[in-house]
């Protein structure tokens, strides 16, 4: 109160010729709500007064220059033709005599001249923070007709959240999946015991936690995702989706830019994998030759793009390619490498090539070291050229690892999200709802889901991508012989 008094003294000094008494404003903590402060105003507006302005700030203020205008309450001579009501834009609720205030055509609350008191509930007040609020009568020209005397108030009312959506069905599904896994494993266990494999019956207890985790948190979400693809799920009615047939797939097929985003995904994936394998093999080959000076140092440096967290590298490359970034500084130019579609595409591909080489290099160095040196020595004596040695001896010996590793690289690159999201977010912009110039399928699905909120359509995209990858995974499993370990 002391501060407020001081403030009004200052206001007296600065305004001087104000006619009316300051309105008597009191905060009523009993009527505060979450992020809302309730104030009662008692004031007899003078003839000059045409409106009240409500000012607020988180600091004490003596001049409206230090405060923000919260809302305006008009003072009129007649309320004929006006209705009482709550505002469309819920900035403030005002009441006269305990009833909602009249509103004018522009939705401003209206007070009849001669009214002695009115109340307002002011929204947007940070909870648990002291606020200073002042009601200032103003005349037709916006000049104040009284002194400014802010009062202190705060609302500590906690948020009343809307009840969470019903989670019972998800909980029930999860529980039944757990039970199903246990039942299945017990059945297999009994069968094993009957079949005489008593020793291994213990194994089921060991694998059950991992399998339950896998079933509940991988296979169930995938099934759920497939189901979502056939529903109208969206951000606006979460948890109330209903069957939608193949409509989402029609949307996917008809969406503008579907061919473009597919083609860019293919270009992105194949150019990356080709560059990763070719450059990784080149570096691995050079590094594993006998007598390379500084081998350990080179290997460590070349490993760094893999060792540094990927998101940090991508963000750093984002900076390098900015108009005031490193590349422009080196070249003495000021180009924006992510502004035009093709330059942006080339940029994201090159950055991802940079990121992926070390993994291939390390895996292939391991494989190269595993190839014996005898046949190379023999070839050397026979006068076989280095290139022929590489093509006819090294490559065939590497085939066993090159096939699976490049298919694995294909899947990794296809699913890569971070590089494009952190470099360009799919930009340059092409059109509303369309994939951007650098969007791949994966980043586009992300924006369909989380920028546009179309969960059903995004799920349909995911299913399409999944089918595409199942084809590749099938080839991968078939050709890599990955199941041979299982014997």
């Amino acid at each position: 109160m002391h501060l407020a008094g001081f403030a009004s003294l200052l206001a007296l000094a600065s305004i001087g010729a104000a006619g009316d008494l300051a309105p008597d404003v009191t905060a009523d903590p009993a009527k505060h709500e979450y992020r809302r402060i309730h104030v009662d105003v008692r004031h007899a507006p003078g003839p000059e007064t045409t409106a009240y302005q409500v000012w607020f700030s988180e600091q004490p203020f003596s001049s409206v220059a230090d405060a923000e205008l919260h809302s305006t309450v008009l003072v009129v001579d007649s309320v004929a033709g006006l209705a009482r009501g709550t505002p469309v834009f819920d900035i403030q609720d005002c009441w006269l005599d305990g009833l909602p205030a009249y509103r004018d055509a522009d939705d401003f609350p209206v007070v009849l001249r001669g009214t002695a008191s009115w109340s307002c509930s002011l929204s947007g007040m940070a909870p648990g923070v002291d606020q200073w609020i002042a009601v200032l009568p103003v005349d037709r020209d916006g000049r104040s007709t009284s002194l400014l005397s802010p009062i202190q108030a705060r609302t500590d009312v906690p948020d009343q959240r809307t009840p969470e959506p019903d989670t019972l069905h998800i909980t029930l599904t999860l529980v039944s999946i757990v039970l199903a896994v246990i039942v299945l494993l017990s059945y297999l266990r009994r069968r094993d015991i009957r079949g005489g494999r008593v020793q291994s019956s213990r194994a089921y207890a060991y694998v059950v936690p991992a399998l339950i985790g896998l079933a509940t948190l991988t296979f169930y979400p995938i099934t759920y995702g497939v189901w979502l693809a056939f529903t109208d799920a969206s951000q606006s009615h979460l948890g109330q989706e209903s069957w939608n047939g193949l409509a989402n797939f029609a949307t996917v097929g008809a969406s503008p830019g579907v061919v473009r985003v597919f083609l860019f995904t293919m270009v992105w994936t194949f150019s990356n994998v080709a560059a990763h394998v070719a450059l990784g093999l080149l570096l691995a080959h050079v590094l594993t030759r006998p007598g390379v000076r500084g081998r350990t140092a080179y290997r460590t440096i070349l490993l760094l793009p893999w060792a540094i967290p990927g998101y940090i590298s991508v963000l750093a490359w984002n900076g390098i390619l900015q108009p005031d970034g490193l590349l422009n500084a080196i070249l003495g130019t000021a180009a924006d490498f992510t502004a035009t579609p093709n330059a942006a595409r080339l940029s994201v591909i090159l950055v991802n090539v940079w990121l992926g080489i070390p993994f291939m290099m390390m895996v292939l160095s391991g494989a190269l070291q595993g190839i014996g040196t005898d046949m190379f020595e023999a070839a050397e004596l026979e006068g076989v050229s280095r290139w022929d040695q590489f093509v006819h001896l090294t490559l065939p010996n590497l085939k066993g690892i090159l096939v699976p590793i490049s298919l694995l690289g294909f899947i990794f690159t296809f699913n890569n999200f971070n590089t494009i999201y952190l470099m360009t977010r799919g930009n340059p912009y092409v059109g509303f709802g369309e994939p951007g110039a650098t969007d791949t399928l994966v980043t586009y699905v992300f924006s369909v889901a989380f920028d546009y909120g179309q969960y059903g359509v995004a799920a349909a995209w995911s299913v399409a991508i999944f089918l595409l990858l199942v084809a590749f995974s099938y080839v991968y499993v078939k050709r890599s012989g990955v199941m041979e370990v299982a014997r």
């Binding site: 969470e164 989670t167 998800i170 266990r189 094993d192 079949g195 213990r202 194994a203 060991y206 694998v207 936690p209 985790g213 896998l214 948190l217 991988t218 979400p221 995938i222 759920y224 979460l238 570096l283 050079v286 390379v292 080179y298 440096i301 490993l303 760094l304 893999w306 540094i308 967290p309 990927g310 998101y311 940090i312 963000l315 750093a316 984002n318 005031d324 970034g325 490193l326 500084a329 080196i330 070249l331 003495g332 130019t333 940079w354 895996v363 699976p404 590793i405 694995l408 899947i411 999200f417 952190l422 994966v442 889901a449 969960y455 799920a459 991508i465 890599s480 199941m483 370990v485 299982a486």
Partner: protein, 416 residues
């Protein structure tokens, strides 16, 4: 034109062989440089580099065919010398930034090497068509001495150039971190301040991100290992019905694109009220990392001989005692690597963290650091300082365990 007969036909001085290989490489590099020059729009340099490419191609053409045409050798030397003149000219009229000098070096060094070698007595003797045993002896002896050196030069050039795109950005990021102002520009080493490091270390938000990342990563590691160790052990040691099917499932899951699971995950976590919690991320990460962990551990358990366990079983150890006192200590290094792998995966994961935890006080480091680089108002200095602080421990761990990590990954990714 009579081809040189017999053994002498393939006695070629190492210099000539090297030139045959390097001139096309230099021309290819110059093509890339030409592309960059087109971006800069400097016509003098474009013309100079284009001329150099032409000279190198022509010079390379002079080296093939019949070696006995003396004019070819002289023409090659003249072309190379012309290339050198072009380089000197470019250096005299153009800029002299590090990049300028480097690109001109790609003209000057091959050109001078070619000119020098083509005029050297060894090559002159070879080109004159000498094939008497004395010459062959001398030439082979010289090659034995020169070849390893030339090869070393070629490899070192390649490796240095491969390292440049790694080292230069790192130096630059370090410079951004110690330059005043939250901006990118400025020459390297022009000013020094530790303000950004002080800002980052002093800010409560960065502390929160580190704490969140730490909780999530440790939680993931512990939960992941508790699930993966028994499963990996069972897959390695027991033959039971459904084993192959289960193992196939573990491989299959690795191939699912994250984006398929992302949306259902998000909705499940939302329904269970696990958005904006560490628990939600821990659950998601430990299950997504599970397949690879199980495969890695299975590979390691496989390498422990069965006989040790059998002996212990005969001695009367229970199954748990065998696991606790024999298997676990023997596979401790492997478990450590798997733990490190889970930890790093969780520590670096971006997508799930971005979608699940949208409130600033639940950000993990990846989302937090990315939030420092929004579309406008990017805080590059603070970001660079934070990146360095976050990367150094991760990089040290990674380099220290690189062999084991690569091995483990190949076990999981490719057949062991």
């Amino acid at each position: 034109m009579t081809p040189a007969g017999g053994i002498m036909a393939w006695v070629v001085p190492a210099e000539v062989e090297a030139l045959k290989r390097w001139l096309p490489v230099a021309a290819a590099v110059l093509l890339v440089i030409l592309g960059l020059e087109l971006l800069r729009g400097d016509e003098t340099r474009q013309f100079g580099i284009l001329a150099a490419i032409g000279l190198f191609v022509a010079c390379r053409a002079c080296l093939s065919g019949d070696r006995r045409a003396a004019w070819k050798r002289y023409l090659g030397a003249v072309l190379a010398a012309a290339g050198f003149v072009v380089a000197v000219q470019l250096l005299l009229v153009g800029g002299r930034s590090i990049y300028d000098v480097w690109s001109v070096a790609w003209i000057a060094v091959p050109a001078s090497a070619a000119a020098y070698w083509l005029l050297s007595p060894r090559v002159a003797a070879w080109a004159s068509g000498r094939d008497d045993p004395a010459f062959v002896d001398a030439c082979l002896g010289g090659n034995r001495r020169l070849e390893p050196r030339l090869r070393q030069v070629g490899r070192q050039t390649l490796l240095v150039h491969a390292c440049l795109p790694v080292v230069v950005p790192l130096v630059w990021i370090a410079d951004v971190a110690v330059s005043p102002g939250n901006i990118l520009g400025g020459a390297i080493g022009d000013a020094f301040t530790v303000d950004h490091f002080a800002n980052v270390l002093g800010s409560a938000t960065f502390g929160t991100w580190v704490r969140n990342s730490f909780i999530v990563s440790v939680g993931t590691t512990v939960a992941g290992l508790l699930l993966a160790i028994p499963a990996g052990y069972a897959f390695s040691r027991y033959r039971f019905s459904g084993r192959r099917a289960a193992m196939f499932l573990f491989v299959l899951v690795q191939m699912f694109p994250g984006i398929i699971i992302l949306l259902p995950y998000f909705m499940i976590m939302k329904s269970l009220g696990l958005l904006n919690t560490s628990i939600g991320l821990i659950i998601a990460y430990s299950v997504t990392a599970l397949p690879l962990c199980v495969w890695m551990l299975k590979g390691f358990f496989d390498s422990i001989p069965m006989e040790i366990e059998e002996a212990a079983a005969i001695e009367g150890c229970t199954q748990f005692q065998i696991f606790r006192h024999i298997i676990l200590p023997l596979s401790l290094p492997a478990v450590a690597v798997t733990a490190l792998f889970s930890f790093l995966t969780a520590w670096n994961e971006f997508l799930l963290a971005l979608v699940f935890n949208t409130s600033n006080d639940q950000y993990t480091l990846p989302v937090g650091l990315a939030s420092m680089i929004p579309a406008t108002g990017q805080q590059w200095g603070d970001f660079a300082a934070a990146s360095i602080l976050v990367s150094i421990p991760v990089v040290i761990l990674f380099i220290a365990f690189q062999k084991a990590l690569v091995q483990g990954l190949s076990v999981g990714a490719v057949k062991g």
